[in-house]
């Protein structure tokens, strides 16, 4: 059907294998999330609301907190850079590598590096880059990209991964997960030792202390910093929290919300480069704060989306994500958060992604699980309004034009006439109604019997008796 939305087509065409991997993975994490929060907190919603308020406060005073963070980081001995957009951010990374004479990089997981396509850029400029998060490593060797913020290869299964490892010369075909992991570990150990520079993201940055909080389940971010002289942390400007004190709220929420873990396995706090008395650690630390249209989002009526701590809970619970998978969203950030964030970060390419906010039944499950209480459905609605007003892209594809309907519904006399005329619907085979929306409806469901005006008639008689 010509009027189908891209995400609907993607969901229809998804293989059963990938659908089930996405669906089961998401459902399992949702259930674990619920169990972990309900078990540990009398009222998890209060914690979510608190976290949301802290983040909103930080965003509303972001200028102040960024200055504070810059000063604290400098005090700690780090060099601070600001990058206005993706091009600048990539250039800063390259410049730092060149300045220190670095040729090869090991990096931990960072959605921001996906957003700015850092790997391709560095490789084109003659640098070697190795992803060390197991999921991201598998994506790298497959030239694939993440379909989920936290579990980037949720769309893959071990048989496919075993084939990739065989192809890459990492051993004979073996789809035992432990064997796969051991092989990756062995391969990556040497890479950690050989690399000149370690790059990480940041889950949170404390403006007061300049401390960077990083959470991983594999400890790979620590390894990335273990054997080289230079550490680069690349950070979206929305990652700030006012002080170390607030980290307690967020570290308790991020693991529980994302994977149902009470605490992510490795929680790392980076205070700066190696100090004089410290035997190990990078001698140089560079922190790059990246805007890349976040200021524009902050100035828009969807600014609450910048509270996001990238836990993935909204993806896992979202029925549309469960059916369509992350790649259907055609952008770095999939699922409900992506349906808001990706079109906003696209800038003047908004029309290309203006259909994403339509891919939701507005059920609100995302809002209910969000650790920072982002009113995602409201933001999706605002973007639908924007897309309609700007006649942007394919947003309205498949949605009936409701202009005439609105006229009908604002003229009570016409409405009542329509209630009478509607009865003709009962005398024609409704499958034959030649309207795309009616056809779409009828392909899956039967329409109920039309009984327009029946209640009004009953009520009138009832009142007069």
């Amino acid at each position: 059907m010509k009027s189908l939305q891209k995400i609907d087509i993607a969901a229809r065409d998804l293989s059963e294998e990938v659908h089930d991997a996405n669906f089961i993975g998401a459902k399992m994490k949702s259930e674990r999330r619920y169990a972990a929060l309900e078990r540990d907190y009398a009222d998890p919603d209060k914690l979510r609301e608190t976290a949301g308020l802290i983040k909103q406060h930080t965003l509303e005073n972001l200028d102040t907190y960024l200055e504070k963070a810059e000063a604290a980081l400098q005090r700690n001995g780090a060099k601070v850079h600001f990058a206005v957009d993706d091009e600048r951010a990539k250039q800063v990374v390259l410049d730092i590598m060149n300045e220190h004479g670095c040729k090869s990089m090991v990096k931990s997981k960072s959605m921001l590096t996906e957003e700015i396509h850092l790997l391709d850029f560095l490789e084109k400029n003659g640098k070697e880059v190795v992803e060390t998060d197991l999921g991201e490593f598998i994506l790298q060797i497959d030239h694939d990209h993440p379909s989920h913020i936290v579990t980037p290869i949720v769309h893959k299964n071990r048989r496919g991964i075993a084939k990739s490892f065989e192809r890459e010369g990492l051993g004979d075909y073996n789809d035992d997960p432990e064997t796969i992991t051991r092989r990756a570990r062995k391969f990556l150990r040497q890479k950690y030792l050989d690399a000149d520079v370690g790059l990480t993201g940041a889950n949170f940055v404390s403006a007061e202390s300049g401390r960077i909080a990083l959470v991983t389940n594999e400890g790979n971010a620590r390894f990335c910093m273990a054997a080289n002289k230079v550490h680069i942390a690349i950070v979206g400007i929305e990652k700030l929290v006012p002080s170390d004190r607030e980290l307690g709220v967020f570290l308790n929420l991020i693991g529980r919300s994302g994977t149902g873990q009470q605490l992510t396995v490795y929680n790392q706090f980076i205070g700066g480069p190696k100090s004089a008395g410290q035997p190990h650690g990078p001698e140089h630390m560079h922190v790059i704060f990246v805007d890349n249209r976040r200021s524009e989002v902050l100035a828009s009526d969807c600014r609450e989306i910048l509270r996001c701590i990238r836990c993935g809970a909204c993806l896992n619970v979202c029925p549309v994500y469960r059916q369509s998978g992350g790649h259907a969203y055609r952008s770095v950030y999939p699922g409900p958060v992506g349906a808001v964030l990706s079109p906003l970060l696209a800038g003047n390419r908004f029309p290309e992604l203006a259909d994403l906010p339509k891919a939701s039944s507005l059920c609100g499950a995302c809002n209910e699980v969000c650790p920072v209480n982002i009113p995602i459905p409201d933001l999706l609605l605002r973007l639908r309004d924007k897309a309609k007003r700007e006649k942007a892209g394919d947003a309205m594809k498949g949605t009936p034009d409701l202009t005439m309907w609105a006229v009908l519904c604002s003229q009570p006399t016409m409405w009542k006439t329509a209630l009478k005329m509607g009865h003709t619907m009962n005398y024609i085979p409704t499958e034959m109604i030649p309207h795309p929306s009616a056809m779409s409806w009828q392909s899956q469901r039967k329409l109920p019997k039309f009984e327009g005006g029946k209640f009004r008639k009953w009520f009138k008689n009832h009142k007069s008796n």
Partner: protein, 239 residues
């Protein structure tokens, strides 16, 4: 507020709502000029059309009497969605006032009228679809409270209660494949415990997943929560 769906398709749901409220001593008025709450256009992104329809509702429902709606989603449209759609409009205060006195039916019975026990009788097993627009409101608890107090009625738990049925207004026609998969899951979860009745508080959801049940030939009885309350009163000889 009848809702457009009850006005056009589900007369008995509106009638049951009136009968239930009258049993509780309410005097019901039915403003003749009412049409729809504007939600289809609002959700479709056509906020200009939604405002047009809501302005008509403003004229139709003057005064300060409570407005009771047998639909969580229409109620949420009036007390929440409308505030977004009118954010930059000069008549926002009127819209706020309208929202401030709009109630979902069972929320009104329990929290507006203070009724916490339902003196009905219904020998049946029932599964309940917790419509998404009840999220964050007092309605789900109100509905559980009343259903639990009906003599003979057993409410069976369902899997994935938080998952949407896949209706979502125009979403159902713009995303037919996703909507269908969601609907099939919901029908499976609602019928798996083999209930006598599948109930919901929103005819929008019911039109969608009920229409799928009809297409599949699943004959389990479907009732709006107002009909459950009304029929149980009849069985108990109260009305």
């Amino acid at each position: 507020m009848t809702t457009c769906l009850c006005d056009a398709f589900y007369a008995d749901v509106a009638q049951a709502s009136v009968e239930v409220l009258e049993y509780l001593g309410c005097d019901i008025e039915l403003p003749d000029g009412q049409t729809c709450c504007g939600q289809p256009a609002f959700n479709a992104g056509d906020w200009a059309s939604a405002r047009k329809v809501l302005r008509s509702a403003l004229k139709t429902f003057p005064g300060d009497k409570p407005i009771v709606v047998p639909s969580g989603s229409c109620a949420a449209m009036v007390f929440h969605g409308a505030l977004l759609a009118f954010e930059k409009e000069t008549d926002l205060p009127e819209v706020k006032a309208l929202g401030g006195r709009t109630w979902e039916l069972v929320d009104f019975i329990v929290h507006g009228l203070g009724i916490t026990e339902w003196p009905g009788k219904l020998d049946a097993k029932l599964t309940f679809h917790r419509s998404c627009h009840l999220r964050g409101s007092e309605s789900p608890q109100a509905i559980s409270t009343l259903l639990a107090s009906i003599e003979g009625l057993e409410v069976l738990p369902i899997d994935e209660v938080e998952q949407c049925c896949g209706f979502g207004g125009t979403f159902a026609v713009a995303f037919p494949n996703v909507s269908k998969s969601m609907g099939e899951l919901k029908v499976e979860n609602l019928t798996k415990p083999e209930p006598d009745i599948v109930a919901a508080a929103d005819m929008g959801c019911m039109m969608h997943f009920g229409g799928m049940m009809d297409k599949k030939g699943i004959e389990t009885k479907r009732m709006h929560i107002a009909q459950v309350l009304r029929d149980s009163l009849k069985n108990a000889g109260k009305i």
